[in-house]
């Protein structure tokens, strides 16, 4: 199984607090990997170290390695812009820009130097289709993204991330602000997209992890407790903590 991302002894600390402790794991190409665990266990911090979004926090300290296609993204000559083009991110709260639907999707390509209208038109249509939003918005591409519903906004954010042609998509609790129907749509989308993209999804919803993922990692207090095929982790957890968490004894 080809490995897309590999962490080696990754430790992320904010000030004196270690949010992630010595995590070593492999994330496989074109598979969906779910990261589960109770609030504050470091799930978000872990995926944010995959596209170096933790760098935006001032007192962060990172040791160990994160390899993307075998290259250390924390290496001195690794370009963050290239990294974030390859590794897109969807956030917990849908965060479309207060611009038109079209401009939201075209934002990334424009940043990376595409300005021809015909090309942008094509990119916008293609990625709105991939995000299963095209038929809902094709007649109002110039209206504000803020007028969309929460679920539509989140799919727009997915289209926006896809438009820069990433290879990996990180999702930080993408459904936590959405209703069940919108959640079902996003989950369906995650399954479809996993054919072409490597997806890492953080969730505190265990059923969601079971539904959408191929692999599941259980994180507790910054440590990787258990990691394996979702089926195995859920049906036959090796670690006591995992079993307690999955059966709802703590959370």
């Amino acid at each position: 199984m080809p490995v897309k991302i590999e962490t080696k002894d990754l430790t992320v600390s904010f000030g004196d607090v270690d949010a992630i402790k010595n995590v070593s794991m492999e994330i496989f190409t074109n598979r969906v990997t779910a990261i589960i665990g109770p609030s504050g266990c470091g799930k978000s911090t872990l995926i944010k170290s995959f596209n170096r979004m933790n760098d935006l926090v001032s007192n962060v300290k990172i040791t160990g390695q994160v390899l993307l296609d075998g290259e250390n993204i924390y290496g001195t000559n690794y370009d963050v812009v290239t990294l974030r083009k390859k590794v897109g991110m969807i956030f917990q709260k849908p965060n479309p820009f207060p611009k038109s639907i079209y401009d939201n999707v075209a934002y990334g390509p424009r940043i990376h130097g595409i300005h021809k209208k015909e090309i942008l038109d094509k990119i916008v249509e293609e990625n709105l289709k991939k995000a299963a939003l095209w038929h809902e918005v094709s007649d109002r591409l110039n209206s504000s993204a803020m007028d969309l519903s929460g679920g539509q906004q989140q799919r727009l954010c997915i289209a926006r991330a896809l438009a820069v042609e990433p290879e990996v998509i990180l999702m930080d609790e993408p459904c936590s602000a959405l209703d069940p129907i919108a959640t079902a749509k996003i989950e369906g989308l995650i399954r479809t997209l996993s054919r072409d993209y490597t997806i890492v999804v953080v969730t505190h919803n265990m059923q969601q992890a079971a539904r959408v993922s191929d692999y599941t990692a259980f994180l507790y207090l910054g440590k990787l407790i258990e990691y394996g095929l979702t089926k195995d982790v859920f049906e036959n957890p090796q670690n006591d903590l995992t079993e307690k968490y999955l059966t709802g004894k703590f959370g």
């Binding site: 083009k85 820009f97 038109s100 401009d103 934002y107 820069v164």
Partner: protein
């Protein structure tokens, strides 16, 4: 019962402020309108000469005054808008916490300096610099007034624009950075456009201050009611005219009413600008272009 009283008190306060503004407008209007029994509105708006005390023929053309206000305000806004927004962006997005701690109070302090102090500085120091640089004959001129006004308006714009930029949700910045945008690209394409309504409000408040400012421009511009289309010549603003002439005018005279007319015109100009800005904001606020 307590709830009820608080509610009524708040309601009364808000009504009170509306009533005050309305009464001021009515006073301006009722007094200003009286002048137009003798002065034609055409002459008032398009007359080239403001000579209210001439014994030969009193003239009440506001063109030189409107010109004075327009040129001084334009200079002030042309400088203070870009500089003010730049400083606001720096403080909100780029400055480290220590720089922020130092810069913000300084800006707020500048906003609180009385305008007569600025006027004095313009009269004594700035005017000399301008004269030395340009060799102009009129020490006190439109450029001098515009520059000092710019310095006065910048803190207003910085303070409000900085608030607007700082309150742009962090999620927008993260969304942009996660797409591979640099910090500068994020500021230019997401943060500042998202704060546009607030920045526009800041600019408008600055504009209001510039148009309405009296003491500093009175001291800085030389107060000659002429239209020369040269920023190195003296001008006289509408506000300065009101201040200079009101204390000496006979109560209830034609000149007295004409000054109210000038005040009314000033009021209408600011009102129209505010209204237009409101329209622009409603139309473009939500798509950010």
């Amino acid at each position: 019962m307590k709830e009820f009283l608080i509610e009524k008190f708040l309601f009364a306060s808000s009504i009170f402020s509306i009533i005050v503004v309305t009464l001021i407008f009515l006073l301006l209007f009722s007094q200003g309108i009286l002048g137009f029994r003798e002065i034609s509105i055409i002459d008032f708006l398009f007359g080239q000469t403001w000579q209210p005390t001439s014994l030969v023929k009193a003239e009440f053309g506001t063109v030189p005054l409107v010109y004075g206000t327009a040129v001084v305000t334009s200079i002030a806004m042309a400088i203070s808008v870009p500089v003010g927004i730049a400083i606001a962006v720096y403080i909100a997005e780029i400055a480290n916490p220590i720089e922020k701690e130092i810069l913000k109070p300084i800006v707020e302090l500048l906003a609180g300096v009385p305008s007569v102090v600025y006027g004095f500085f313009a009269l004594v120091t700035l005017a000399t610099w301008i004269q030395q640089l340009t060799g102009t004959n009129s020490r006190l001129n439109a450029l001098n007034g515009g520059l000092i006004l710019a310095i006065m308006v910048i803190p207003t714009i910085v303070s409000l624009a900085e608030d607007a930029i700082s309150s742009v949700p962090r999620e927008y910045r993260e969304g942009s950075m996660a797409l591979g945008a640099s910090k500068w690209e994020t500021i230019k394409n997401v943060t500042v456009p998202s704060a546009a309504p607030g920045i526009l409000a800041a600019v408008l408040l600055g504009f209001g201050r510039a148009v309405g400012e009296t003491m500093a421009v009175l001291m800085a511009t030389g107060n000659a009611a002429v239209v020369n289309f040269n920023i190195l010549d003296s001008v006289r603003t509408m506000t300065a005219t009101i201040v200079i002439e009101t204390p000496e005018v006979a109560f209830g005279s034609l000149h007295y009413h004409a000054l109210f007319g000038v005040a009314l015109l000033l009021f209408l100009i600011t009102f129209v600008f505010n209204y237009m800005a409101g329209v622009i904001m409603r139309r473009y606020g939500r798509t950010g272009r």
